[in-house]
């Protein structure tokens, strides 16, 4: 089954708060060891609609969002609509 997983770190801005909003000032930002992980895989069930993307956060109760994606006309790109449960 095709799948991908990626993680990215949280951060702490140790120096440069407020200053970093302006281009002439720098911020010193450290990445932290607390990371967010995202895993994506294809569906294993036959009746999962071809234009659906299900997003879930299983560490928590009832944290799930199902979307239908559609290509917009012309060069509008792709847009998702949440499907209510």
């Amino acid at each position: 089954m095709h799948s991908s997983a990626v993680s990215a770190p949280a951060k702490v801005l140790v120096a440069g708060g407020y200053l970093v909003l302006e281009r002439q000032y720098k911020g010193l930002v450290f990445a932290l060891s607390a990371r967010m992980h995202v895993h994506i895989q294809s569906s294993s069930t036959v009746d999962f609609p071809a234009d659906n993307i299900l997003v879930r956060s299983p560490q928590f109760v009832a944290a799930e969002w199902r979307y239908r994606y559609q290509k917009l006309p012309g060069e509008g790109g792709v847009s998702v609509t949440q499907l209510d449960r």
Binding site: A15, G16, Y18, V20, E22, Y25, H37, S57, V80
Partner: protein, 414 residues
């Protein structure tokens, strides 16, 4: 039901969830809209159904106390904890990173839908495109253009950051507008090699591998009481800065100077640790065991003393900013706590990070079990004025930004 967007966010607002399970999640939607649009522009045939699982490391949320419902850890999965509660009840730590979520989700979507031949997250090009796309998605989700330091760190790891001009995203137009796909593609593909300003639209500067701590020194974050109203604070400070530019400039320029000194001192310590390891570690041992007055006399390398003084200067300037802008950036309870921690053996100093307020403080400490033990004991007994309990968080600084994972995520993935 509506959007819950967040700036400096907390775990529950990272997921933008309220009590209704079908409440919208602004960050997930913005990632999907932007990443799928980009994928469709690069490889239209590749879109398809998918199941996305989001997991947050333990550092994000508080440890359960004896009083609260226990979080059951799942066998065979040491990194992630299950909470038997809905998101809205997850205690907030003040670490939160919507930027980490947006970066991981955008990176995963690109890696999933595009073949390695056209997108490789581990390459400089992959990081550049991910950076651009994640900045766009994050701003879209927040409904405003922030400085972007958090997305930069999520992509590139620890770094010295100079923001992009907010105007560069004005040409983009909202998602779904007539030339959105073409504009997005152009903005994303515009190369922003880390570390150099470019002639393209992304005039940011991200110096990764430039900001680091020497071995033997670490960051320690201490959670106080979360819920600083960052958006409101930033607004107030910026209003004051506009109204009193001369007053504000004095503080800004002084802070910039002290921040540069801090960066230089850290670099000097890294250099010392590599070229004069004995002097470096003798200095560390002295700091770890002696109280401030004595180690200032004993240490013949001035770098440690310099760093300590620089941090005190930075804090003094932040308190001046607090007073003049009338915003609680380093409010008295945090001053008390920081001063007390800074007096302990092994603590070089600490600050209120980011926009300040009552979010977690960050300390620079000698990475030694005895030092950390004394510190955590001290914190557990801390009863500052008007704050709740203080707790060291199980996090530390990390060099790495975004990366592909080969982990086994079972049983979290269905």
């Amino acid at each position: 039901m509506g959007f819950l967007v967040s700036g400096e966010c907390l775990l529950s607002s990272t997921f933008a969830c309220s009590s209704s399970p079908s409440a919208r999640n602004a960050f997930v939607e913005a990632c999907l809209n932007n990443a799928l649009t980009y994928v469709s522009s690069v490889a239209p045939g590749n879109l398809g159904p998918a199941i996305v699982t989001i997991l947050a490391d333990t550092g994000y949320y508080s440890q359960p106390t004896e009083a609260s419902p226990a979080a059951a850890s799942v066998p065979n999965s040491s990194d992630f904890i299950r909470f038997q509660v809905p998101l809205k009840d997850a205690h907030k730590t003040g670490l939160g990173s919507s930027a980490a979520l947006v970066t991981a989700l955008t990176g995963a979507l690109l890696s999933y839908y595009l073949p390695k031949s056209s997108y490789d997250l581990s390459s400089a090009d992959g990081k550049s495109r991910l950076h651009n796309l994640a900045q766009i998605a994050h701003c879209a989700a927040q409904g405003k253009i922030g400085s972007g330091f958090d997305v930069a760190a999520a992509v590139h790891g620890s770094c010295v950051y100079t923001r992009f001009s907010p105007g560069i995203l004005e040409e983009l137009g909202p998602a779904g507008s007539p030339s959105f796909s073409r504009n997005l593609r152009a903005a994303v593909d515009d190369q922003t090699p880390s570390g150099s300003p470019v002639n393209g639209i992304w005039d940011t500067m991200i110096l990764a591998d430039t900001l680091m701590l020497p071995k033997g020194i670490r960051l320690l974050m201490c959670d106080v009481d979360c819920g600083s109203e960052t958006v409101g604070m930033v607004k107030k400070v910026l209003t004051w800065r506009k109204q009193r530019p001369d007053e504000a400039d004095i503080i800004w320029e002084s802070l910039a100077g002290e921040n540069a000194k801090l960066q230089d001192s850290l670099a000097a310590l890294v250099q010392m640790q590599q070229s004069e390891p004995k002097m470096y570690s003798d200095g560390l041992k002295t700091i770890a065991h002696d109280f401030e007055q004595s180690w200032q006399h004993k240490i013949w390398s001035g770098e440690y003393v310099k760093i300590r003084k620089t941090i005190f200067c930075i804090r003094d300037l932040l308190r001046r900013m607090s007073a003049q802008a009338q915003v609680p950036i380093e409010p008295p309870p945090q001053t008390e706590l920081l001063d007390a921690c800074s007096a302990l053996p092994g603590v070089l100093g600490g600050v209120v990070p980011g926009a300040g307020g009552y979010d977690a403080i960050v300390l620079l400490v000698v990475d030694d079990d005895e030092v950390l033990g004394q510190l955590t004991d001290f914190l557990s007994l801390w009863e500052g004025s008007g704050t709740t309990k203080v707790r060291a968080l199980d996090v530390r600084e990390e060099r790495d930004g975004v990366k592909s994972e080969q982990k086994d995520y079972r049983p979290w993935i269905s």
